[in-house]
Subunit: 369 residues, 2 copies
């Protein structure tokens, strides 16, 4: 810990001691980045998800994000995933972080309707049903166990592991699982839109819990059942990777409020992972006035710090990127975790400005300028 000093590119929410201890363990070190892609038909409920230009296109977003990370271009659809209005996927920042960290990227399939056209780890999951069914995820226990096996494998020769997700509709399923577990008792989850459709999400979650016959907090001790009833297929896989990898190395849980549900599950299934994990995210998410990642995470444990990259797109010449400053996107595809990885790999030498420069290069390449 002697040579670790928090750089201006990073800030901490929650325990600074825990954050500095974990950051010092990965400072200058090499990690592996994973992104678990999955679909839940919850994302096709009109108005629930902005992670795609239309409700049906939300099902293509995870596969397209994976293709963008691995190939630098999309195969399953034309162009890249955008929010309505043309705001580009946060995978642009993820890719910048991976390139600057010189970090391998492993795509993990939690269960997709649309599979990515790149090599991916198959975990035996299936596309999730709408949470309105109250029976939204098949084989959660099995895919959790597969996640544990994968997490252990990834940790063998790496100094740390990043887990992340691309799963449209995932903040709604996250809210539902945290409600079922009693970690959240009100709607604190984020949205990729500044106009977070909070009432629609809350109503959808309550309808899902009712369909499953679950009250708030009923499944505090059974996170895999909570996921099976009202979660999405990304969750058990990522909870498993966290549990398996954190047995031997630190884990960066990259992402926003969706990943709080995953951490809640992992912490309940394997309490010893606390102290070995931190959430890695962005300033945009932490500053979001319409959600509260800090309240969600502290409800899981006071010993899970939130480290965030102080990304700032206000000087970008591209309106689609400036929109991140207006409350769009905020997080996703582990963009915060990838940014933190680049900063950590370089012992703070790489700054948020360097990351933005690389995002511009990637963005120009994609839009063909």
């Amino acid at each position: 810990m002697s040579d670790f000093k928090m750089p201006p590119s990073l800030s901490v929410c929650g325990s600074e001691d825990a954050a500095e201890r974990l950051l010092s363990e990965i400072w200058g070190k090499r990690g592996v980045f994973t992104c678990t892609v999955a679909n839940t038909l919850t994302s096709t409920i009109p108005g629930i998800s902005d992670a795609g230009d239309t409700p049906d296109l939300t099902l293509f977003t995870p596969a397209a994000d994976a293709e963008l990370l691995v190939l630098g271009r999309t195969v399953c659809m034309k162009g890249i995933p955008i929010n309505p209005g043309g705001i580009p996927t946060p995978a642009t920042l993820t890719k910048a972080g991976l390139e600057l960290a010189d970090m391998p990227c492993v795509i993990v399939n939690g269960g997709c309707r649309v599979n990515p056209n790149v090599p991916y780890m198959e975990m035996g999951g299936e596309c999730g049903r709408s949470i309105l069914t109250g029976d939204s995820v098949s084989r959660a226990a099995e895919t959790f166990e597969s996640g544990v096996v994968l997490g252990r494998t990834l940790a063998r020769h790496e100094d740390y592991v990043v887990v992340s997700e691309s799963c449209a509709g995932g903040t709604t399923t996250a809210l539902a699982v945290m409600m079922a577990m009693g970690v959240a008792r009100e709607n604190l989850v984020s949205s990729s839109s500044p106009n977070n459709p909070r009432e629609l999400k809350t109503n959808t979650v309550m309808a899902g819990l009712k369909a499953a016959g679950i009250g708030i907090g009923d499944l505090a001790d059974d996170p895999l059942r909570a996921i099976s009833c009202v979660g999405d297929p990304m969750m058990p896989v990522n909870a498993g990777i966290i549990v398996g990898a954190s047995e031997s190395v630190p884990v960066i849980v990259g992402g926003g409020t969706q990943m709080a549900a995953v951490m809640a599950a992992a912490a309940k299934l394997r309490p010893s992972c606390i102290g070995r994990i931190f959430q890695g995210t962005t300033r945009w998410l932490v500053d979001d006035p319409n959600s509260s990642i800090s309240r969600l995470v502290s409800a899981i444990s006071e010993d899970i710090p939130i480290v965030y990259a102080n990304m700032d797109y206000s000087s970008s010449p591209y309106e689609g990127l400036q929109a991140y400053e207006w409350g769009y996107i905020k997080e996703g595809v582990g963009c915060g975790g990838a940014a933190i990885s680049a900063i950590a790999r370089s012992e703070g030498g790489i700054t948020c400005g360097d990351l933005l420069d690389r995002v511009h290069e990637i963005y120009r390449g994609i839009i063909g300028q």
Copy 2:
């Protein structure tokens, strides 16, 4: 190369200089082991394959091998894959090597009828048809490209990469592809039985070539077409991994005569991989009087050395293992490559005797003694 000295556990066929140069690069280093599993219906032609107790069980062997490597037990079938007579799969030696090398194992799905119940890399391939159709593998070009992507990813943080296979019926498809490419003009491939059914294999290959309208050597410059016509789905994936990984690190091609066909394809598709790869196998294969790995490999290039582990099971108290000395099994599931990895990781400290001790532990665990 200063501190490298060939240990008694290893021997070389072909260029000793090239072998020593590559071994010195990986000496004491950390690598990743991959095993590509696939099925070809060729294995169900009665009498072709002994990699399974019956022709139909040969389709379960790859998945069961993968489960054994990752979980230490099988899920898709009872017991472990055996040859008729109860001789255990070479995955027992592979597992011993992986444990002693402390090496992560990545299962890659080339295209299976029976998928393994463990996390695996999905490459978009399909179970292969019988080569008697003359149209045995779908999507060879695509899965080769996926292999290249995976090989590059694996090489990012590892000092070397091992490729291997479990694909019953694979010596017949290997012979067919090498005939189509003109690398082999007679039947030099091995068998997991001491009674190599050479005439049946040769007749099957000639019928496959005829069905595809190919003469010997016609596809010397088009290995992916040779694989599409008369190969198996393991081949394009492994050729791709070799090409992608060898751009930055040495590659051990673990396996027997099946992998000669893969090397022939990789060397034609990317000649620059020569000098960065060596075949890693066992004494049993090199000493086989019914095949000739050295003639096959030297027909591809004089600059691909064969390194083999001097495994000797003659002192084993178990008849199923002693059978390896009688000409059964010889290679498979990258057992030679895994053994060499353990020896290299320990800079020669781990011996073939240590490996056999560990095989005994694993074998006793499996048979429940």
